[in-house]
């Protein structure tokens, strides 16, 4: 899970694997994905107990930002 200067740099990177283009996001997309309470609510004193409540909004956001890409879908 790394950052790169540009999308072109990722495609040229020795660690890039063909067929994983869906694993590329802009900085802004990545920030939006991490803005739900699952990541932004970590300082809540009941965070671990209430984590299951945060899963659905997180998955919704993940699917919205990635255009419903199966690559980003954590569901079995």
């Amino acid at each position: 899970m790394n950052l790169f200067r540009s999308k072109e740099d990722i495609l040229d990177w020795s660690g890039f694997e063909a067929g994983t283009e869906d694993g590329i996001l802009t900085l802004a997309q990545a920030a939006v994905i991490l803005s739900t309470p699952r990541h932004a609510g970590r300082m809540r004193e009941d965070y671990v107990s209430t984590l299951p409540d945060f899963l659905e909004p997180f998955i919704d956001r993940l699917m919205e930002v990635t255009g419903n890409s199966p690559y980003w879908d954590p569901r079995p």
Binding site: M1, N2, L3, F4, R5, S6, K7, D9, I10, D12, W13, S14, G15, F16, E17, T20, G23, I24, L25, T26, L27, A28, Q29, A30, A31, I33, L34, S35, H39, A40, G41, R42, M43, R44, E45, D46, Y47, V48, S49, T50, L51, L62, P70, Y71, W72, D73, P74, P76
Partner: protein, 155 residues
Amino acid sequence: MAEPTQLDRTYHYVLSTMVERGQAPHYTEIAKEFLVSPDEGKAMLHELMAAGLPNWLHPGTDLIGSIAPFNNLPTHYRVSVDGEQKWFAQCGLEAKAISALFPGKTVRVDAPCLASGADLTFAMRDGEIESATPAGIHFYVNLPVKKWYGDLPFA
């Protein structure tokens, strides 16, 4: 808010300590915080690490290796708050979650591009990106999300 469980309290203490000083606590500190024996503190740490969160121990030890969004071992994601650099992000994705832990403050992340070696910098405040240099910074993970929990440190 739900009544916090001991697991909630352990998590909150470990993460708060990381926020405050940039280093995770040892299990003896967990024990001291909750007025229990060192062995009980160690058990609390292991319970936390087994909770299914993106946190892990350094292999073969009772030392915290990572507690998302931070890493307790230096990474190439250097994090500064109010100009002070004493934190490291767990990865390029979690680096964007750190600003939520420092409300009202500018959190800056400096990292190298793994392909070009170029310096990358972005700053966030309260979850919003304030600046990014260069403007075209992208994130990449070569493993589908379903496989992340099979090998979190790798992902």
